[in-house]
Symmetry: C2
Subunit: 536 residues, 2 copies
């Protein structure tokens, strides 16, 4: 199912001052040259009836000098860890004087399985252009190939499509100038007392770091854009690690600097070639602008930014109250349209979840109003919250099932329960009962993305199930590590390693920032056992 929004004759409202603030905060990227570490082979094998991709060492990099490549020969370089950057290498002819250009195909893979898939056969709905392949002619040899495009990868394959019968190619000096707005050394490793969580934390921080570029990118292989829902999680992880407050501020001003003409904040923002809001509105993402602003204010005490952006945060709630509710204060279901995100996954009904996110945003709205001294607005929101909570229970709570349902077909999903808990529709005890009951029932409409799993863990922690949250973190994020993750993924289904929302894992993103939150949860809620109510 293709999921995207698109608006004909899209009109925007620009606040030049805000965009200028964002522009002034553009980070200077750190650059680090990383050499390829070794030469490997990649194979699919069957283990217990399941296909698995394995990477095997093939040769030491010192042996590369003796290797010759002609038509059809391939070599895979392993950079040892996930890289985001600009690749260069030397291609040197050997044999007779080269009498034809060299013709090579480069393939970059975050996960080794990408190397074994047939990109020509790709027929998913996401653009093929995201597949990290290049076909190059080298007319003058020897050549120092410096690729102008940025890639996200651990493995780089060079396939020689052809030289000529008279010469072969050698390769040397394979390296990547890796880039990020931050450096791993800025963050002190976690000492959790359990290696599993230290590893999960380390990989979370690496995932976040790789996605911190000119903005918080959602994924560095694909999409490479600033999404509001992702920003919220990245910012939270950033506060307990790199503490790059300017990048959050920049992103807040971007979203506020160009909105839909009616004031709605877009779900996603382009920063290249010039600033531009995408014509995609997602109700939950727009509502999360307020929580992002609150988190930022809480982390920095930057009252100027709070004051400037407060009106827009509040208006996202107002717009939803005015346009998205029926006469019973229940969010109107918009079915299969791309109107509210919550999670990928087939057939998830968003109605109940959207109501919950609205309530969640209103709680943060109250915090914002309080900080602004806007007591009338605070009271108004408090009243509205009660109304909407009641409406939520009436519309979605199924007494027989003891779970929330969503949509006209009364769908029971994990997402609806989790978000209703995070919305504090019930108190902590009843919420705890609900999440434990949900685990027992295990509704068929499951969670797919780390984005949704984060909210599940957040809900467990709020309910006081911190041990269980740790177990689930190990099962899910630890499961990715066992499956070979160097950075955390966009999509992970423990039951189906090769799940993709796009019709092909070739375009899955394997360093996706919305999966970086274990570092936030571990560092925020576990160090001294303290739990801050307002935060979840």
């Amino acid at each position: 199912m293709a999921s995207f929004g698109m608006i004909k004759d899209f009109q925007v409202k620009t606040n030049r001052t805000f965009l200028d603030r964002a522009a002034a905060l553009e980070p200077v990227l750190h650059k680090k040259t990383i050499a390829a570490g070794g030469i490997v082979t990649v194979h699919n094998i069957m283990t217990d009836g399941r296909q698995e991709t394995v990477v095997r060492p093939f040769a030491d990099l010192s042996q590369l000098a003796d290797m010759r490549f002609q038509r059809g020969d391939k070599v895979i370089f392993d950079f040892g860890d996930h890289q985001v950057g600009y690749v260069s290498f030397q291609a040197v002819p050997t044999g007779s004087h080269y009498d034809a250009p060299a013709y090579i195909r480069l393939t970059f893979a975050e996960a080794a399985n990408e190397l074994l898939e047939d990109s020509d056969a790709y027929d998913g709905w996401l653009s093929k252009s995201w597949i990290q392949e290049e076909v190059l002619h080298l007319d003058l040899l020897p050549d120092t190939v410096k690729l102008p495009r940025r890639y996200a990868f651990r493995y780089m394959q060079i396939e020689v499509l052809d030289t000529s019968p008279k010469y072969a190619l050698k390769f040397c000096d394979i390296s990547c100038e890796s880039v990020s707005a931050v450096e791993m050394e800025q963050v002190k490793p976690l000492c959790f007392g359990d290696e599993r969580y230290d590893n999960i934390d380390r990989i979370s921080v690496k995932t976040l770091k790789d996605c911190m570029q000119k903005v918080f990118e959602d994924g560095v292989k694909r999409d490479r854009r600033l999404w509001l829902g992702d920003l919220r999680l990245q910012a939270r992880a950033n506060y307990v690690t790199f503490q790059n407050y300017d990048m959050v501020k920049r992103c807040l001003y971007l979203f506020a600097g160009m909105t839909f003409a009616d004031g709605r904040i877009g779900a996603c923002f382009f920063h290249e070639p010039e600033f531009c809001v995408d014509d995609t509105y997602l109700m939950d993402y727009a509502l999360l602008f307020g929580p992002v602003l609150w988190d930022y204010y809480e982390a920095t005490g930057d009252a100027d930014t709070l004051r400037e952006l407060y009106p827009q945060a509040m208006s996202q709630i107002d717009i939803c109250m005015d346009t998205m509710l029926d006469e019973n204060y229940v969010v109107i279901d918009q079915g299969d349209a791309f109107w509210c995100f919550l999670d990928w996954g087939k057939g998830l009904n968003k109605q109940a979840g959207a109501q919950a996110v609205l309530l969640y945003a209103m709680r943060y709205g109250i915090c914002l109003a309080k900080a602004m001294g806007d007591s009338s607005r605070m009271r108004q929101l408090q009243d509205q919250t009660e109304t909407l909570k009641q409406a939520a229970v009436e519309a979605f709570w199924d007494e027989r099932l003891q779970m929330f349902v969503s949509g006209s077909e009364r769908q029971v999903s994990w997402a609806s329960q989790v978000w209703m808990i995070l919305a504090h529709v019930f108190d902590r005890d009843k919420s705890r009962e609900l999440i434990l009951h949900t685990r027992q029932v295990n509704p068929e409409v499951r969670m797919v993305t780390p984005y949704m799993y984060h909210h599940y863990l957040d809900a467990l922690i709020w309910c006081g199930e911190k041990e269980l949250a740790l177990e689930e973190m190990d099962r899910y994020w630890g499961g990715m590590i066992k499956a070979g993750a160097d950075t955390f993924w966009e999509v992970y289904n423990p039951d189906n390693r090769y799940e993709s929302p796009y019709g092909s894992t070739l375009v899955n993103s394997y360093c996706h920032a919305w999966s970086c939150t274990p570092t936030y949860l571990l560092r925020r809620f576990y160090k001294d056992g303290k739990y801050d109510d307002a935060r979840s």
Copy 2:
């Protein structure tokens, strides 16, 4: 059959002075911006049981502004004539803000049929890298795409491999900066009194012009190198047209400036990235260095160059006399090795032809020695000529067949007859009988390339069959025009439009300088009917 020479541990001898002279003569290329002329479609149709590629107008270029391209869409631009140069165009997104790179494949075709062939299926022995295709990602849009590689083409296809569901591409400002060391305007069109020959002359001149770049290139799509056998014909056509004497001089000094360590002149020379002789020796090509030098001296009177290069011209003959002959003064057959060119085509035995080229070179050697006042050498060559002619007749003339044979299997080919005539083994009358007899018998081992056809016409003219030569020129070169040639081709078999010596027409070259000689023959031998004996 793959045909190429290759020498392990190849050693060269360099004359720095000569290479410096060549470097100083590097031409400055003329540049001319040519806009695409129209939009066409290309189809294969069956006509009288033969496949034919037809080009049909599809749209006016002014309609391009209304065209939108997404995944799988293609457009073919017709530049109206053969171009050699650097292409640029604008790619502009339309629809929502582009949310993925644009991904396009460009295909350049000298002949329209190249657009219908499957380059992935190419399995010929020449490098795939010559196929004029590029696959590009455009990360920032709109983009002015300036392709850094030079292409030879009339048709340019853009295939959009993907945009995204949210946007399409538009294209505009499709143009080519065409380059050459010379300009068509420098040459006065021929007025032969018969449009057929005016056309053949014009296309000959265009072919030559397009191949005059930093050196005389053999073909501008593929190979793009200086070959000695080709140089001889290009230089002759150049003397009656552009009269760019410096380019001939530059090429002579290149060949003389770096030779095999034993003094043999290479068949081919690389001028990029630095000067380097190829490790290919072709006996006939090396021997033709003398005739090229003589033609140059005759055209320019440049006695300094003659004096400097005379020793190397003569030594090519000496080397052959010393190393390539058996005790009966007959060239030793080297079978299927790539040792003597004469023509492409399967199974042509080169022994008789090589003997003839040696005799041909000796005749020019006598001219050179005479001009140098080297009378002892002149007499020696005259004596050797008689000996070798006698040996040629004894070894190769078949009295019963009344034709020359070649090799241990006594092969009868067109090439052997033509070169024996050009070698003046027989006098003009007997040569005329031979060529007419050959036409009647039509030996199975035919001529394939315009290079060989040129020598056939040259032989006809020398035999006094100037009308017949014109008829054959019209049949062969006129035939290419009827088949759609904008410039003359590397290979043309009137009986098989799709013949290729490389296993696929995809790598055939459709602007190949060795086919430019009709302008030489028409302007040299037909204007006033004069025929210069020494020249053929």
